[in-house]
């Protein structure tokens, strides 16, 4: 994370890390592990204890905060992550109807629901594995969380129709995001990995990024005390990578849609680069050889940490993950 020159980059899963193989190996599975701190700690450590990756990570989804704030969530299955079912607030740019963002206080937010479970799991992981491995805690970014509350489509459409209402909502969720990020650090996380998929260039144009996402990330994530901060965004991030670094985070985690060497060039040493092995190709559909080759290529390109580029599919084969570890650690 400090971008120091090393013989080889560390290899770790910075994004959602659990797979069926790990669930079976440690005897803790989804959906229960999403809401039980002990199970989450055990399963979140499995990337290290089962495969030899060099980190442990708490939380497996991006719905915990939204659920705490009133969204309806389908808990998913052993092989399927939870999915948002309903947005509690009305935000309709077509009919010009916008609910006020009446959300719970940040302190209240931290006390219950799955955020409290994840904080507790992070604490357990820091106690049990913290000496040996860095503890990563994953959470949800401000634009993404605001989208969860009012529907991402409507929020994005609102940028064209009524930007003030959009800002009102992101500004309302951001103190919660900030308090939660700090609480995860206080619980012992060494790294906060914030995922902000809804501000990818598939949803926002690059010239909207800083105004609707970057500035808020700067205020909530980049100022977390006693932990490194990593901003994860999916899709083709080549146009926004410099803007992601402008938020002041320690690292950026990106997908394989950006060529690894190209990303290193764009980044020009500004932040630690984390990524960018493809989750579908090669991890899910490729062979162990394909996976090892991708990991080696990314290390050679100059990434600071070799990691999958996005959350793992639970169906990824053990051999493919082992091949990644072996390719880097030898």
């Amino acid at each position: 994370m400090r971008k120091e020159p090393l013989d080889r980059p560390p290899v770790a899963v910075f994004t959602q890390s659990a797979t069926i193989g790990q669930m079976d190996a440690v005897g803790c599975a989804w959906p229960e592990a999403h809401s039980d701190a002990k199970m989450m700690a055990k399963l979140g450590a499995a990337q290290a204890t089962v495969f030899g990756f060099e980190a442990v990570r708490s939380s497996f989804c991006l719905t915990a905060e939204a659920e705490r704030l009133g969204c309806n969530v389908d808990p998913g299955k052993k092989d399927r992550t939870p999915m948002l079912k309903k947005h509690p607030f009305n935000f309709d740019p077509m009919s010009d109807v916008y609910d006020e963002p009446n959300l719970m206080d940040p302190e209240e937010f931290l006390k219950g629901g799955r955020p409290a479970v994840i904080i507790e799991a992070t604490r357990l992981m820091a106690d049990e594995y913290g000496k040996e491995y860095p503890v990563i805690a994953g959470n949800t970014g401000p634009f993404t969380l605001a989208g969860h509350m009012v529907s991402t489509e409507n929020l994005v459409f609102g940028i064209m129709m009524n930007p003030e209402e959009v800002h009102k909502w992101i500004a309302a969720v951001n103190p919660i995001v900030k308090a939660y990020s700090q609480a995860l650090s206080d619980a012992g996380a060494d790294i906060i990995q914030m995922s902000e998929p809804s501000s990818s260039t598939d949803l926002l144009s690059p010239d909207m990024f800083t105004e609707y996402s970057g500035n808020y990330v700067k205020d909530s994530l980049a100022c977390v005390k006693d932990a490194y901060s990593v901003l994860h965004i999916c899709g083709d991030t080549s146009a926004i990578l410099p803007l992601m670094a402008d938020t002041g985070v320690t690292g950026c985690s990106i997908e394989e849609k950006v060529d690894s060497a190209e990303a290193v060039k764009i980044n020009n040493g500004r932040v630690a680069l984390v990524g960018n092995i493809g989750v579908v190709h090669p991890l899910l559909q490729g062979t162990p050889e394909d996976c090892a080759a991708a990991a080696k290529r990314i290390a050679a390109a100059g990434f600071n940490i070799v990691s999958p580029g996005c959350g793992l599919s639970a169906l990824i084969a053990d051999e493919n993950l082992r091949a990644v570890v072996k390719a880097i650690k030898g």
Binding site: V156, T201, S205, V280
Partner: protein, 213 residues
Amino acid sequence: MSEKLDALIDIVVTGKMKLAKDATQACLDDGIDAKTIIFEGLSKAMAIVGDKYAAKQYFLPQVLLSANTLYQGLNLCLPLLQGDGSASKGTVVIAVVEGDVHDIGKNIVKAMLTGLGLNVVDLGKDVPIKDIIASAQENNASIIAESTLMTPTLAGMKQCEADLKENGLKGKIKTMIGGGATSKEFAEQIGADGWSYDAVEASHLAASILGIQ
């Protein structure tokens, strides 16, 4: 082409939502019929938007704005089409498969099929396969049209073919599929009766399946 229609295309492409209704009305007042407005105007406009998106001149917010602008015009035109009482040409049940909420493309295909004079039953987005089949039976539909833009939800389309077969409906109810994640090869592989790249082609496809025109 008519100036009025060109003006409407420009309004949709640039997302001037408040002007869309009046511009559509102006076309109608000029004697351009609703079907022509949809086929030669609105759908052309959305194709231009698609090209701009592919060229990274447009991003999602602009696409959404154009789509909502297009809906303003569609809402004026669609009732006029249903007015010709041509439901007898055939019924299509259209839906976006379960797990997928992308419905802009489906809505445009729906407009085209309506423009063709078909009776279109729209089940919306994120629809379970069993509901699609049940509705097709209930409405005595000749065609099930399914849309998906996402790879993980392709499985639903395959499921639909299997379920139709199991219920002895395969061939009696024809299927056509489309949306970004699909391809001609995929359609052939799962045994769908047709695939098309865009909405205009989708209307030709439906016409040929039903043997009209």
